[in-house]
């Protein structure tokens, strides 16, 4: 935008010079007019070079403009008003009253545009109002041509200010997205490096320790492998959940694999994201967590658990199975009666509040299987 303003300033200056050159003999003080022109050229050069280097105003609700940019806009406006008023000194009163073009002409609009760019619509409007007042003062009357010039100035100040704010916001948004992308790329790189290096090494140590019948080392390595794996998963999730109203259910389920270090939990999920509204995804993941918590508490020390996530077109199905001691089919009701509402409340209740169903199948000695089915709305 600064470049466009610079073009406008220079072009309008050239126009003014040509204009003055054509009507040179009509001026009351031609030498004075040339002096003003030289001052204008000097200020144009200064403004074109300096203004883009000053910091922009914050376009936030708090009105806290940086002093240099504010000073620049004020000086710009003051110079514009001064050159405008100088018309009365260098030109004949006759010409002023009959509506001859002011000496700096359209060039003064540069100050309004500059203020609009630096401070948005509010500052643009303010500058336009001040300059318009100066226009009327120079003319000494409310002439039609002056009024339309003033209208154009106000319009330019508002529109350019609004556009400048929009452009700045878009730029800030872009910068945020770029920063977000960079962080994500870095975290993915880290995750990959850890997968290739540390995780593999820990798996190897666990394996070798088992061969050398050093069960403590094997357990230690396996536990650290699991812990590191869940950290890596968490790294990636942090990023994804930050900005969105929809979530990939897989990313909420993934950390559950290692949430119970002593328990072997196997996850089976599609390769594609399973996108659900953020709240649905969180609630469903919480229900799965509760189901696994249930396995950990009641299925027995040796029981393993399997979680299967399936993305049907109109619903998402999550099955949690264990090979533990199982329970008599009427156990869930008993559990609720006994105040242990794990299965009934935090699993079935959650899923039902999402408009879904939870089916629990169990036999003594063949584990428990919970199937959660949540519609996709």
């Amino acid at each position: 935008m600064w470049r466009a303003l610079a073009v406008f300033r220079v072009a309008s200056l050239i126009f003014v010079v040509v204009q003055v050159g054509r009507t040179y003999d009509d001026f009351g003080h031609p030498a004075g007019a040339v002096g003003v022109l030289i001052a204008m050229a000097a200020w144009t050069t200064f403004a074109v070079v300096v203004q883009p280097m000053l910091p922009d105003f914050e376009r936030s609700s708090s009105w806290n403009p940086p002093a240099p940019a504010l000073a620049m806009a004020a000086a710009d406006l003051a110079i514009a008003v001064a050159t405008l008023m100088s018309t009365r000194l260098v030109d004949t009163p006759d010409r002023v009253v009959t509506g001859a073009p002011t000496l700096p002409g359209t060039w003064t609009a540069g100050a309004v545009l500059g203020a609009a760019i630096v401070g948005g619509a509010r500052l643009g409007l303010g500058a336009a109002v001040v300059l318009s007042a100066a226009l009327f003062a120079e003319r000494g009357a409310f002439a039609t041509t002056t009024s339309s010039s003033a209208t154009l100035l106000v319009l330019a100040g508002l529109v350019v200010g609004y556009l400048a704010t929009t452009a700045l916001r878009a730029e800030q948004q872009m910068a945020r997205v770029r920063a977000f992308e960079a962080t994500r790329a870095e975290r993915d790189r880290l995750a990959r490096a850890i997968h290739d290096g540390a995780l593999q090494a820990l798996a190897l140590i666990a394996r070798e320790a088992a061969v050398m019948t050093r069960p403590q080392i094997a357990t230690l390595a396996a536990e650290h492998e699991a812990a590191l794996r869940s950290h890596v998963t968490a790294l990636v999730i942090d990023n994804e959940t930050a900005l969105s109203t929809e979530l990939d259910l897989r990313q909420l389920i993934a950390p559950l694999e290692t949430a119970w270090p002593k328990r072997i939990i196997s996850l089976a999920m599609p390769a594609e994201p399973v996108i659900l509204p953020a709240n649905t995804a969180r609630e469903l993941a919480a229900a799965v967590h509760a189901a696994l918590e249930n396995v950990d508490r009641h299925a027995g020390a040796a029981a393993k658990a399997w979680v299967l996530v399936e993305d049907e077109t109109d619903c998402v199905v999550v099955s949690i199975r264990d090979d533990g001691i199982g329970m008599a089919p009427n156990r869930p009701r008993e559990a609720r009666a006994a105040g242990r509402i794990g299965l009934a409340g935090s699993i079935v209740g959650r899923v039902q509040s999402l408009g879904g169903t939870a089916i629990v199948t169990t036999e003594p000695d063949s584990g428990v299987e919970v199937e959660l089915r949540v519609p996709r709305r």
Binding site: Q200, L204, E208, V211, A268, A271, L308, E310
Partner: protein, 219 residues
């Protein structure tokens, strides 16, 4: 195990870029009387070694220093039994390797006993599925089912049922009991799910090559 285990020991190629992992795997395989006929740490070496030695099973890591094991599977998968042994569960890589012709997948946290069992089954042409792989396959078939394309592979209801049970951690024996079919039938269903996907992948590649070829000719 199969009757020819005694007569002719299985010949294995180990592909892994981690030297200590490689030697640990080789030690475990040799301790079980299998013969390791070659090893490699890069994609290029792996393809050469496999073509030179024609092993019964290639034990393939997906993370190699000069690329992905998927490229190895693509190059040799049609003629050799490939068992993927990977540290990460990178879903896309695993799926790509299986589509390229690998018939089994294990994670590196598998025990030596599980590994040996998987190698033997792979050598007999059986599919070695982890529940995680079954979950990926179910997802892939679901994705294909949503495509408009006519020649896409679809699972029968029975195959879907079997794959779901594998994903839920049931062994093929348990699945056979639950569905009241023979163990062999279950194996056939599992293999069918794999074969359809690999066949489809080959057709897709051929079609892609053809359209690319025509485009090049037109230019």
């Amino acid at each position: 195990m199969s009757p020819d285990d005694e007569a002719t020991p299985l010949r294995i190629v180990v592909v892994d870029d981690h030297p200590i992992w490689r030697s640990a795997l080789i030690r475990d395989l040799e301790a079980a009387q299998l013969v390791v006929v070659g090893e490699a740490d890069t994609v290029a070496k792996a393809i050469n070694v496999v073509q030179a030695t024609r092993p019964d099973v290639v034990l393939l890591d997906l993370q190699l220093s000069d690329g992905s094991g998927v490229e190895v599977a693509r190059a040799i998968g049609e003629s050799t039994h490939v068992l993927v042994l990977s540290a990460s569960g990178e879903a896309d890589d695993v799926l790509a390797a299986v589509k390229a012709g690998a018939t089994g997948y294990l994670t590196k946290s598998a025990s030596a006993a599980e590994l040996l069992d998987a190698v033997r089954r792979t050598s007999r042409g059986e599919a070695v599925f982890t529940p995680a792989l079954a979950g990926l396959m179910l997802g892939e078939y679901r994705r294909l089912a949503n495509h408009k394309e006519e020649k896409r592979p679809l699972l029968t209801e029975r195959e879907t049922e079997v794959l779901r049970l594998v994903a839920k951690g049931l062994t093929s024996k348990q699945i056979a009991n639950r569905l009241v079919v023979s163990h062999r039938t279950v194996e056939n269903h599992v293999q069918a799910t794999l074969r359809k996907l690999q066949l489809h992948n080959r057709v897709e590649l051929a079609r892609y090559a053809m359209t690319q070829g025509f485009d090049d000719a037109a230019e």
